[in-house]
């Protein structure tokens, strides 16, 4: 079997080509330990050719995660062929990457995508000349229009049979002699086929390579001398010598092969941008688009679907049919409970999210495919950058006010790994529609006639996001200089149905497969704990295992004002779905009428204890569905645990500070509560103001 790595710039049409080549035979996962997507699939009609989609990169430098993944892969597990896809309307920068790929010495096929657009712009590229100059196969095609895909497949198959050989691109003579001398120094340490790659990397003073290849101190000195000499000759730093050499080489190829009208023309894309990113219109348009996305996926179509699945399909139809069936079979009561509530309920809670996710990803796919998504980052970056988030973090946050699960999944559109990880961690702070039931219950029970409670919940959520952004940036996990925001604004184009459907399908599928299993298992366990006692008899919730666990944990919540086993159990039950908080409270307080429920609650807790309960449930670990999705997106247990731990700790500290400060304000001075209040408040102040940024030295060693 032959392995082909698909490499190219972002926005070069890599995804479209990958979908076109593999069809439905693809598998979407993550690269080990990071949230960067890894897609694999075999070629349509040919299982012998395996295609691997590398992250979209502009360079093979060691600075961004995507670049590190790509080059680590290309050097350590070299594929049989690199299929390099280029945007032929933007050849100069795309060829820059091609040259770096060719420096690895691996067999390469160049695919010039967007050939149709090039023709539309009345430009041409002389392919024969280009093939001759680079001595590698060059295939023109249009992935969108499906033009010449077969030509590419034929060429790739031919290359798989007999890998094409080429001479390395040769740069400036003075640079070449420096590289030659470095090669002599390092040749005992690296494989002959990789000699040029490493020589160039040593010349660039590439940190990763210098760490990895241990030269003797004499050799190190020699290499350093060669580089300094070259720097003196060129009067520039070594890495910029290489960059210039590559761009000069590209310029030569361009000069010889590209027949171009060089003056820049105002394209349709630019005209759209004049309106969409206009000083006055940008924000209103943005708000409108966001409202549409939210309206479609959270308020209307998506939620209709979700409600139907939850209330009708898994609320009536399937349970009714199954319970009829179980009754006719005379199945025992506990077995019935297991099947109806445990299994069907669990499956339902997973599948219930699917309509919302599909609708959301339909909208996001549309925005991404037509090119508006990049503009969102452009317009919103200023605001979110302050809190160390990306402009695109806005979308997950907005979606999370409806439901955290699609919100977490929406982080996929954020390029930077750090920003994405942080957004996943923070996005569930937003009150989702299930948390609204808790907000409604608390404000309705403890704060009748007081309209500030519900808005304050949103306010606290936003403060938690902003404050966490500031705090987390200082921790070792997220430390380091902000990633340079360098992004390309791709030209707008008409979205393609096939691409979007692909997008929707693969997201929904991977959600059900990956997150679904965790959600199902966790819901099942909580169901079991709340329906059985230690003797494995089926009992009601008030005598269950969950109750005894609740009683053990309850004292922890005492400083927050609600150290009662019933509220504790409600919090635990909220892990299945936050609306369970309310249901469980009703059940455990054993009240039949709404009025007596309010009375028992208000007589047991002070209003502020209720508010602390609200704040804790608002910010603490989200429901299992969201945790499962987090795990799926992080692709890593450690990060998931870290996120849940952070959220719960923050929830505890904030609830503690609010409750204890209130106690002091109303005149309750005891040593313990002053101690608690100072503890909570000083922790928050420490995190936001006092704490200094950790150095990022350790972080870089991760990959």
């Amino acid at each position: 079997m032959n392995l082909i790595a698909l490499a190219g710039n972002q926005n070069s049409g890599k995804t479209t080509l990958f979908n076109e080549l593999t069809g439905t035979n693809q598998y979407v996962g993550n690269w080990p330990g990071v949230t960067v997507e890894k897609k694999m699939g075999h070629l349509k009609n040919d299982k012998q050719l395996m295609l691997l989609d590398l992250p979209g990169v502009y360079s093979l430098s060691p600075y961004t995660l995507e670049e590190r993944i790509s080059r680590k892969y290309l050097i350590e597990q070299p594929p049989d062929i690199i299929l390099n896809i280029l945007d032929s309307t933007n050849l100069e920068r795309n060829l820059y990457l091609s040259l770096q790929l060719m420096e690895t010495g691996l067999p390469i096929v160049l695919a010039l995508n967007m050939w149709d657009l090039l023709k539309k712009q009345k430009r041409t590229i002389n392919l024969k000349k280009m093939e001759y100059l680079l001595s590698v196969p060059v295939i023109p095609l249009s992935a969108v229009k499906k033009e010449n895909i077969s030509g590419l497949v034929t060429q790739v198959k031919k290359a798989a049979q007999e890998p094409p050989k080429y001479t390395y691109p040769e740069y400036d003579n003075r640079l070449e002699s420096a590289l030659e001398m470095i090669s002599q120094q390092i040749q005992d340490h690296v494989a002959p086929s990789k000699l040029r790659w490493y020589a160039i990397k040593f010349f660039e003073r590439d940190e990763k390579v210098i760490q990895k290849i241990k030269l003797t101190s004499h050799q190190q000195q020699e290499v350093e001398d060669i580089i300094t000499t070259a720097e003196n000759i060129f009067a520039e730093s070594s890495d910029s010598i290489i960059v210039n050499a590559r761009y000069d080489y590209v310029a030569q190829i361009m000069a010889m092969c590209v027949i171009d009208r060089n003056d820049f023309q105002m394209s349709l894309s630019d005209k759209i941008d004049r309106i969409v990113t206009n000083k006055w219109l940008a924000l209103p348009i943005f708000v409108l688009v966001m409202w549409l996305v939210y309206y479609l996926s959270i308020q209307t179509i998506g939620t209709f679907g979700t409600d139907w699945v939850n209330d009708v399909l898994f609320g009536q139809w399937i349970p009714d049919i199954t319970s009829d069936l179980l009754n006719t079979w005379h199945v025992s009561a506990w077995m019935k409970g297991l099947i109806l509530n445990g299994i069907i309920g669990g499956v339902g809670s997973v599948l219930g999210f699917v309509p919302q996710i599909m609708m959301l990803f339909f909208c996001l796919g549309l925005l991404e495919d037509c090119g508006y998504m990049a503009r969102i980052a452009f317009v919103m970056d200023r605001i979110f950058h302050r809190f160390n988030l990306s402009g695109k973090s806005f979308i997950p946050m907005l979606i999370s006010t409806g439901c955290g699960v699609p919100g977490i999944m929406a982080t996929r559109t954020i390029e930077s790994e750090k920003d994405r990880k942080m957004t996943i961690m923070l996005t569930t702070f937003m009150p989702c529609s299930a948390k609204l039931t808790v907000i409604a219950m608390i404000s309705g029970t403890f704060f009748t006639q007081q309209s500030w409670v519900a808005p304050s919940a949103y306010f606290i959520s936003m403060l938690a996001v902003v404050g966490s952004g500031i705090f987390l940036k200082k921790t070792r996990m997220f430390a380091g200089p902000p990633q340079p925001f360098v992004m390309e604004l791709p030209a707008y184009h008409f979205p393609r149905a096939s691409n979007i459907l692909h997008y929707v399908w693969s997201r929904s599928k991977s959600f059900v497969q990956k997150a679904g299993t965790i959600i199902f298992a966790s819901c099942f366990i909580i169901w079991f704990l709340s329906n059985f006692n230690w003797q494995m008899h089926m009992v009601d919730q008030n005598h269950s295992i969950l109750k005894s666990i609740g009683s053990v944990i309850a004292p922890i919540f005492a400083p927050l004002g609600f150290g009662d086993w019933r509220t504790t159990v409600a919090t635990l039950a909220g892990l299945i779905a936050k609306e369970n908080c309310v249901g469980t409270l009703r059940l455990t307080f054993g009240s039949n009428s709404a009025q007596s429920f309010v009375q028992t609650l208000t007589s047991t807790f002070t209003p502020m204890a209720g508010y602390a309960f609200l704040v804790f449930n608002l910010l603490s670990a989200p429901c299992f569905a969201a945790i499962g999705t987090m795990y799926k997106e992080y692709g890593d247990k450690r990060w998931t645990v870290r996120a849940v731990f952070y959220q719960t700790c923050l929830a505890y500290i904030v609830a503690l500070s609010i409750y204890q400060c209130w106690l002091i304000l109303v005149g309750n001075f005891t040593t313990t509560n002053i101690l608690y209040a100072t503890m909570g408040v000083s922790l928050i102040i420490y995190g936001l103001v006092v704490k200094k940024e950790k150095s990022s030295v350790k972080k870089q060693a991760l990959i």
Binding site: S240, R261, P482
Partner: protein
């Protein structure tokens, strides 16, 4: 705006604009002479004879009438003007990159995107909230934050 006709021996120039017929622009582009390219004058015009320039490894002879259509900025004369950060360039104005500051990762990233010394860039657009800014570089558009733009020293054209 200066044209190539006043070019002095051994001086480096950067092409800022090519006026004249469309066919001519294409012809020159095919030979590698286009906006943003750095050229060196090998011998200047004397008595209405053409001038010889050096660019991308080749020597080109250019007639006087043609040289009047090629607008250039002298890089050598710019040695005297002091560089300013990119953020000082107002919208729709062009400039030439003089130097990249900042730490290695940021510099390398900017260079990889094609922002190298003596590259002609244009400030194309500024985001509604003032940050980031969009540049026209090497035939494509790139947006960078102001914090990175302050690390880029440029010379006005």
């Amino acid at each position: 705006m200066a044209t190539l006709i006043n070019g002095k021996t051994n001086h480096k120039y950067i092409v800022t604009k090519i006026t004249g017929e469309h066919a001519l622009t294409i012809r020159l582009a095919e030979m590698g002479l286009s906006t943003g390219k750095v050229i060196t004058v090998v011998s200047p015009t004397k008595n209405e004879s053409g001038l010889v320039i050096y660019l991308a490894g080749q020597r080109l002879a250019i007639s006087v009438s043609l040289s009047k259509l090629i607008e250039v900025t002298s890089l050598d004369e710019q040695e005297n003007t002091s560089p300013v950060p990119l953020t000082d360039i107002s919208i729709h104005n062009s400039c030439i990159i003089y130097q990249l500051n900042g730490d290695k990762a940021v510099r390398k990233r900017l260079m990889d995107m094609g922002l190298t010394r003596n590259t002609l860039i244009q400030v194309y657009h500024i985001a509604p909230l003032g940050d980031p800014i969009e540049l026209q570089v090497r035939g494509y558009k790139l947006s960078i934050r102001k914090s990175e733009a302050t690390q880029i020293l440029v010379k006005k054209v």
